[in-house]
Symmetry: C2
Subunit: 331 residues, 2 copies
């Protein structure tokens, strides 16, 4: 029986999945067992979410990571993924799928369906289905209350710094970061630059932290994808509260500050509105503290008064909802 190229590729993919014990692909839709589910969709488009000439290995990992981060913010257990991939004729789909399968495997996710097509640019959309954490409940943005402490799951601003470097003379090809001579010649700056670029290309979704939060009696969470200040505004809006954020509590390293200085970037601006950090911003009652091992930092508190304030250098003022606007060129 002669098969189309698409069928041959899908057959190959099904064989890979069979080996992992999965057999959901190959019908018109995938069947999932009975469960409450959390579903999220994110896409990654060449030239929009990543440079068009980036090492293709990055795209699959990043695609999964940004979706996993959404599930982490819901306190969900990642389960099933669905891929819609459109790619130009010279794109190696098998290699992309291999990378995606590997990343899925590492996160306990089963690729359960998809749609492949040829298109003018690489564009990948992933739908991720999560289940409830045993003994936990869904984490919602709207669960924050006045007096709750505000926490950050990891430092922010690194990803934006990495994006800035990649938009300039830095590059990532064949799994290697290439820096411009001005940075490469200074070991400390070079190390900081590499860390920032890796943060940007390979986000670390905080699934374990989400699981822990889902088991607390009360927690609100959002993933910091569009910028700390914008996402804090969203959490406060849904919780019906205000917040006070302390600039001096935001975690930074001297290397990050030095690199910002060299590149003439404002570190606080990167941290507040750089975006694409993919860590969790969450609130907890004052009596609860996340385990040290997660490396979280207390950065503020939620307030009854609904204004959202930044305390910086002893001065308190309104915190603008600035960040990554996916539709910045729209009306």
């Amino acid at each position: 029986m002669s098969l189309s190229r698409e069928d041959r590729l899908l057959q190959w993919l099904r064989e890979q999945l069979h080996r992992e014990g999965s057999d959901r692909m190959g019908d018109d839709a995938a069947l999932l067992p009975k469960a409450e589910t959390a579903i999220t969709v994110d896409h990654q488009i060449a030239g929009v979410h990543f440079p068009a000439d980036i090492d293709p290995r990055v795209v699959a990992q990043r695609l999964l990571a940004v979706n996993l981060s959404d599930l982490a913010a819901m306190g969900a257990e990642p389960r099933y993924a669905f891929l819609a991939l459109s790619s130009p004729p010279d794109h190696d789909i098998k290699s992309f799928l291999r990378d995606l399968l590997k990343a899925c495997r590492e996160s306990g996710v089963e690729l359960a369906g998809g749609d492949l097509a040829r298109g003018p640019i690489l564009s990948a959309t992933l739908t991720l289905v999560g289940g409830k954490v045993p003994g936990g409940k869904w984490l919602r943005r709207g669960a924050g209350q006045p007096g709750d402490r505000l926490w950050l799951g990891s430092p922010v601003g690194q990803s934006a710094l990495g994006r800035h470097l990649l938009a300039g003379d830095a590059d990532f090809q064949k799994s290697r970061i290439r820096l411009p001579p001005s940075l490469a010649s200074n070991p400390r700056l070079a190390a900081a630059a590499r860390r920032a670029i890796r943060s940007h290309l390979f986000p670390s979704p905080q699934i374990d932290l989400g699981r822990w939060l889902a088991r607390r009696r009360r927690a609100a969470a959002i993933d910091v994808s569009d910028g700390l200040s914008l996402d804090l505004h969203r959490l406060c809006r849904d919780s019906g509260v205000g917040a006070r954020l302390y600039a001096e509590k935001l975690p930074v390293t001297p290397a990050f500050l030095n690199l910002c200085a060299r590149l003439q970037l404002k570190p606080l601006e990167l941290m507040l509105s750089g975006g694409e950090d993919y860590c969790l911003l969450f609130s907890l009652p004052a009596s609860l503290h996340p385990p040290e091992s997660f490396g979280c930092t207390r950065v503020g508190e939620l307030t009854r008064k609904r204004s959202i304030l930044l305390v910086d250098n002893g001065q308190t003022g309104p915190l603008a909802a600035q960040g990554w606007d996916h539709l910045q060129s729209s009306d």
Copy 2:
């Protein structure tokens, strides 16, 4: 509180959804109630699945329809939709969303989440979640058995004819079909051309037929998206059977034949491998017949011998698995 353009648009969308009683959007992922689910993903890309200059109203309707057709082929009840939309700055997202919401409403589907971005071309991915039909079971491609009759849910080939016309001098703008003078001047040909173009732009997914099939004791089904012959090969492969398809039983109208003749197209080729028909190809035990009201046609039978044969003009020969190969330019 100042909001980003994206947040303002999402707020507008949530207001539209609230009016319809839906409140799933606005957190990091959508929460769905406990249920067995069928999930499918399809995308529509400008220049690939539709002409880049097509009336934007077409895209939203078509996007939903091709996904609904997958659920129809599973015998699933359509429930929730998730949209990933990337569009150029001059694209009217609100108008697109309005059209999508209208189409969703008409099919009982709730838009439950999504991801919006600006990108160089219009690209829309829809994930559709379906539940079980009450008293039914999932329809699978692999449920066919030797001796079962093979049925077609509606005529095929029209969509491919419509695509051919649109690739030529015909056009669809501002909700109107425009034909070249050579066709417009002949009322019968013009009517046939309009029907073909509408078939292509506005597929009619056979959800009701899928529901009916899901309640039978045995039925196999697939939606004819990539061409009758290719999709028949898929159904047979999964069922472990062969088939005999009778060319003379394929439903055609004189107008379709006349239009094919005028355009120097081979009608049988369009019917067998044109693709994008989005109707159901299904098999039933010989004792079962679909109700007349569905307008189905018996076109063949499944056989123990695993070859897939076409009976045409008294001659029997192998039916090639030809059709729409989404990766035709790949290796």
